[in-house]
Symmetry: C2
Subunit: 227 residues, 2 copies
């Protein structure tokens, strides 16, 4: 008798709440989870420490952080010190948008998935209560999945790759409720764009406001550590 | 009277001959060329020095090298020391294939293009005299272009992005002839997968053999520096 081995998946884990819930969902679906973070020179490096805590707490078998220097490109409030993180959501795509960030992170996930023999990638992108980033939309994820199925040796050899974004159509309150159901420790997560080195949130940036509203709407006490 | 500014393009320049000819073609077409290399932990770091020489010699206005640690993922003879570079082409996709490399490099190019306001990316991929890598095929480039046109703030705002692979259907001999026509100094380029630190080629790997055959077929003296 052979036992079917659990399928491997690569989960993009940023340290924020959405990717934490995504990891918990992937585990619930029976995947062996390999957590991936990308250190791209973001302001909020405490996010990466949160990612490590989240990966361990939610049962990832390993956690890898890949370094890429997106500061050398700049063009975002998150990777260029001369651009401030806005306090209020304005119109249009905000200054915290990082050019091609999700394309780059999914590409790295694709490379690691191929090395692992994993046929599934999970990411926590969301197009409801979000900052309006173009690379968080369903059509972007679908286009990446099409690309991925042409890009690799595994694809040529017939292995299909699926890109899952299980929270794509969830409100922030839905995400909070899913996390509560799955015992996600939200206090361990960091969403703030400019968290201090202890991971304490600013309460003012777009990410903080969306997150706080999610807890309020879900009727769940907000466990976030604020400065 | 306003003068139309030259359009900006990002050119992926590896240090090899194909991307050098691609840069020369982009210049000939009138683009202001921003050369991009990716230091991904490749064995052949002398390629990156060649990239810098090539960018300067062929009139790029700047040359940027972005670091990404693909050694942390491994899975290729080029990024994992325990996997040898094969001397002979076998059947199938060779061990020098780097998982998702072109997806990752094009993604970085996309990010930089957006910061620069460039609407064109050039890369030197080729699907004729090549190593059989899946991410060198025309359908891969087309899928990346579709993705790029969904991925960015520029795309949302209506700016189209084109991904050019002008050598896609050229033989290696055609590429040599184009380079000669465009005064590309092939002696400055390094194609070898395991060039030594002086950029001297091994003469045995797949990249060396394809290159040498190209010069032979074109009837051009091979200026490559061999060990």
């Amino acid at each position: 008798m052979t036992v079917t081995p659990a399928r491997r998946a690569v989960i993009l884990v940023s340290g924020g709440m959405d990717s934490a819930v995504t990891l918990a969902l992937a585990r619930e679906r029976g995947f062996t989870c390999h957590a991936l973070s990308v250190a791209y020179g973001q302001r909020h490096a405490s996010e990466l420490e949160a990612a490590q805590r989240v990966a361990r707490a939610l049962g990832a078998v390993e956690h890898k952080t890949v370094d890429i220097d997106l500061r050398s490109i700049g063009g975002s409030a998150l990777t260029q010190d001369s651009i401030a993180v806005p306090d209020q959501a304005g119109s249009g795509i905000p200054a915290t948008y990082v050019p091609a960030r999700n394309t780059i992170m999914l590409s790295i996930a694709l490379g690691w998935a191929e090395v692992l023999g994993a046929g599934d990638i999970f990411c926590g992108v969301n197009a409801v209560d979000y900052s309006g980033y173009p690379d968080c939309r369903p059509e972007f994820i679908a286009a990446f999945e099409r690309l991925a199925n042409l890009a690799t040796k595994a694809a040529v050899e017939g292995a299909a790759l699926r890109v899952h974004a299980p929270l794509m159509r969830s409100s922030k309150a839905d995400i909070v409720r899913e996390g509560v159901r799955l015992n996600v420790d939200f206090a361990a997560t960091v969403s703030c764009y400019q968290a201090d080195r202890h991971g304490r949130a600013c309460r003012r940036c777009d990410a903080c406001r969306l997150r706080a509203q999610g807890f309020a709407d879900a009727g769940v006490a907000d466990p976030t550590l604020y400065v």
